[in-house]
Amino acid sequence: MVKGGILLTGGIKMPTLELKVERLERLVGKKLNIKDLEYDLQWIGLDLESIDEKENKIKVEYSPNRPDFSSPEGIARTLKGYYELELGAPTYKVSPGSLEINVDPIVNKVRPYIVGGIIRNIDLDEDEVATLMNIQEDLHWALGRDRKKVAIGVHDLDKIIPPYLYTAVKPDSCKFRALQLERFELTPAEILEEHPKGIKYAHILEGKEVYPIIFDKNNEVISFPPIINGILTMVTDETKNLFIDITGTDFRAINYTLNILSTTLADMGAKIESVKVNYNEDGKQITTPDLNLMKWTVSKKYINDYVGVNLSETEMIKCFQKVRFNAKPSKEKGMVDIWVPAYRVDIMHAVDFVEECAIGYGYFNLPTTIQEGCIGEFHPFQELCNLIRKIMIGAQYLEVVNFMLTNSERHYNFMKREYVLKDHIQILNPKSKELDTTRTQLLPGLMENLLYNRSEEKPIKIFEVGEIIELDLSTETGARQNLHLAAVTYHENSNFTEIRSLLDHLTISLGINEKIKVTPTDSPTYIEGRVGKISYNGESIGIIGEINPEVILNFNLEFPVAALEMDINKLLGKQLI
């Protein structure tokens, strides 16, 4: 189905997540009824995809700007706020660790950034392992742009010796055994050619002279980001402590990714320990994950005005606490200080707090008001279209509506029209090879309609009023839209006179009969001697005639066809677009 919502998101497929109600109950710490949950989830911004009462499971869609919703743990945090079981930002303790990653400036040539973190005492059940796999996949997609921008590596900490070195090497200068293809030692170049992950992600490293590699102290390969880890650090049932590396091209995004992963693992009961990353070039050392809250100061009036309510300071603070932000009156008059958890990647502007406040308040509680004003007008072209429709149905013609995308063979060859590729719109990458251009005439569409309906009762008289697109490199976007009218009549006795009467009826009704002339012309689509050029004020605007039998047969039809097509833009004396 074409959903309105999907339309506005620009066609992004929404990520989904399956929630087991029992697990959610454990995480939230409250008995949950699946029916109530179905209702409640929509108010924190989750879209219900399906509900399975027998299995006690709910499948939800979450927005790509909320990758922290990629786990039941992440959703539970927000639900606790919604149910007012916990208010304000959740706290996560990061113990200072001693592990260091040294960054070789050569990585600037290929993948400049790395951060890391240590997760201790993991004890994951089956569901949690599945979640960990899922969340990585979702983060790779949502924040990582399919690993291009961010790639995650998860390792068994106890199998490698620090410090680690993040560097870049010539494609064939080292060899190691990679996960999922453990039998051979391969160079990075070979991995890109032979390893399934290598083949899949080789495009990210295309054209680079050096490839990123993480070594441990003994020069063992830990990982070849963003492709695959070495077998050395494989995570098994026995793994107790994890090292997580996040590499990428966007420093902000790799930190967000680490924050979401580590807070989720902490919610599963593990301990977070920090890692020091030394950027040797500028002697800068950073410590990650950095789970400090991000402070914003926002005007209360701004928020109230935007939403259209008048919340007191206390009410507003409560709203923010419910969406799991910390909030306090600010020292600055009229302002409120807000602290945002490190896993929230979607806060870019004060306006983002407007929405959070409204969610905390509950969209369902908001009043509906309306501002009056403005006098509306229809677009003159649509008005002309509707006038023509009225005239055409009065002449007993049935309206059809066809696609604008079309196929050049049917559009030109079937009509015996010449087709010069460079003179027409060309679509670069259609999924249906069928659709390689946009229409420049309406008539071929009407001929296809006759074919589709050829067994229906005759006479078939149909028309279309619609836009066509022509290449025009002088315009801003390289094309021009015109409004056309086309009509065909299809039965045993259809002929030029019949369609000429239609044209006369149309031009008389439009009050332009005096300005219209039809003069003999040539067109391969029509029968010689039975085709005329329609001119308006001396300017050619269309063609009218009996269709060439070859064209009729190309469309598998069995009776004569008389047709007209004209550019009705010209009647308004203006260009549509």
Binding site: G4, G10, N65, T369, C374, L398, E399, Q426
Partner: protein
């Protein structure tokens, strides 16, 4: 006893007696060159005298499906393969390559291979290590099924009840391959009763009854002395094929009226659109998945668009890179002019509303401005019963001072009420260029269900500031798809029907 019949009824009786079979009313009307209505009223007369009548019969017409029509043109798959092999003088070829070249789907391809083997026209063998096809015949006469398929060229349908045994067999084979579709049609069959069959026409008295008043009768006053035949007013007349507005256009016009009644002005914008207005000006980062080729139609010709005035482009660039002057932190990456210049078929009409923001800036307009558009948008999708590559989007925006989220809710409530949905829910959602965002679900009475019916929000400052639209002037926006509404309203299940124009539906649709 003296049966009296009118002259024309008598003639029809005579024709029917000569024919001595039941016959189709509309065919008979054509054959004896008589108006259908007059024929049927005559049959009604025969019925009154118990001499004849009509009965209705449903018949199954069998047509070729689209695939069938395709084979009618190109030949059955097996014929297509043989033609390809013969034309290219191929004696042996790997099955995989042949499949590739044939462009046939799996099922028909392998069935064709099987049939060709059965005909002993080809052999297959793995002797060379690869699964290969070898030509083993030189002559490839038309098979019975092919000959039969070709008969559809002359006559596009068969009447199921009139099939010979052989034809029925062949139809069944075609049907199994999904090449046949059927349609029920009603036929009126005229018959004579045994009395009607044996009555001697010469003994029937001619009734001077007229069914039609002529001009001459009126002027001369003769009409006063005429027996005017009563008509059976309860039967419906034959279907008339009048002109009609397409259901999609009809709904579009209803929605346009709603917008107009709420003070909105209609706008239009280019379908061939720059990535700049389709994406960049709407704050969609240049590496955003929605911009990828697999979702968007990019054009090879024209390849590049012209960007608008430099300072506005720079303002958009700055919001992407660092937030510009609007108080945002931006996306934090290097914005590329070249990516913004790419040309697409617009993926949403928000590109058009965004151009309206640019116009607002250029013409130094004052708020409020309310505009709407109902227009085509394009997505790179494969077509099936629930997906289209182009469809209509309905969109409205309000540019005004001090407009609020509550005003947006009020606006939506009013709009959907006028659309026939008095009960709506607006709930939190996400769209890349609005904040706050909300999704609209309407209660659809007919199904007793809540349906998602649009997205909405207030344009982000990152979208409006580059066009000088600054707080407290804000832009409310909402949009929804049209096709789903139309499908619900008309109970269509295949979304392609809306653009395939089945004339039967268009002729009979009730608005």
């Amino acid at each position: 006893m003296g049966i009296k019949l009118k002259q024309n009824v008598l003639e029809i009786l005579k024709t029917l007696q000569e024919k001595d079979v039941e016959c189709d009313a509309s065919e008979l009307a054509k054959e004896i060159n008589l108006d259908y209505i007059i024929l049927m009223s005559a049959v009604n007369d025969l019925d009154k005298e118990n001499l004849g009548g009509f009965k209705e019969k449903y018949i199954d017409y069998l047509y070729l499906t689209e695939e069938g029509l395709n084979y009618l043109k190109k030949g059955l798959p097996s014929r297509q393969l043989i033609n390809y092999l013969v034309k290219n003088k191929i004696k042996e070829i790997s099955i995989a390559e042949l499949k590739d070249k044939s462009e046939l789907p799996d099922k028909p391809f392998y069935r064709a291979i099987q049939n060709l083997r059965r005909n002993k026209w080809i052999a297959t063998s793995k002797a060379t290590g690869e699964n290969k096809v070898f030509m083993v015949a030189d002559d490839f006469p038309n098979k019975e099924l092919e000959v039969f398929l070709k008969t559809f060229k002359k006559k596009p349908f068969y009447d199921k009840s009139k099939l010979s045994k052989k034809e029925a067999e062949l139809i069944e084979i075609l049907n199994k391959r999904n090449l046949i579709q059927r349609e029920k049609k009603t036929q009126r069959l005229i018959f004579l009763t045994p009395e009607g069959k044996k009555i001697d026409i010469r003994k029937i008295e001619i009734l001077k009854e007229v069914s039609k008043i002529t001009s001459e009768m009126l002027i001369s006053g003769k009409w006063k002395n005429i027996n005017l035949k009563p008509f059976n007013v309860s039967i419906s007349g034959p279907r008339m094929h009048a002109g009609k507005i397409h259901p999609l256009i009809n709904i579009i016009n209803e929605i346009r009226e709603i917008f107009l009644s709420m003070g909105f002005t209609e706008i239009k914008g280019p379908i061939v659109e720059s990535a700049f207005f389709n994406f960049d000006a709407l704050f969609q980062p240049q590496d955003h998945p929605a911009r990828e080729m697999q979702d968007t139609f990019y054009l090879n010709n024209p390849k590049q668009s012209k960007l608008p005035e430099k300072e506005r482009v720079e303002a958009v660039k700055a919001t992407h890179e660092n937030g510009g002057d609007c108080g945002s932190i931006g996306w934090g990456y290097d914005w590329s002019y070249d990516i913004a210049k790419k040309v697409v078929l617009r993926t949403h009409t928000t590109a058009t509303t965004c151009r309206r923001l640019a116009q607002f800036y250029r013409e130094k307009e004052k708020p409020p401005v309310k505009v709407f558009s109902i227009d085509k948008v394009f997505r790179n999708e494969r077509l099936d019963h629930s997906h289209l590559a182009e469809f209509m989007q309905i969109e409205g925006i309000v540019i005004d001072e001090n407009v609020t989220l509550c005003d947006l809710r009020g606006l939506l409530t009013e709009f959907y009420r006028k659309m026939g949905f008095p009960k709506i829910i607006t709930r939190p959602s996400f769209f890349p260029y609005t904040e706050p965002s909300l999704e609209i679900a309407v209660y659809y009475e007919k199904l007793g269900e809540w349906l998602e019916m649009g997205g909405s929000g207030i344009f982000r400052p990152e979208v409006t500031y580059p066009w000088g639209i600054k707080d407290p002037t804000r832009v409310l926006a909402w949009g929804l798809g049209l096709e789903r509404l139309v499908m619900l309203k008309y109970g269509r299940e295949d979304i392609r029907d809306l653009y395939r124009n089945p004339i039967k539906w268009l002729r009979e649709v009730s608005y």
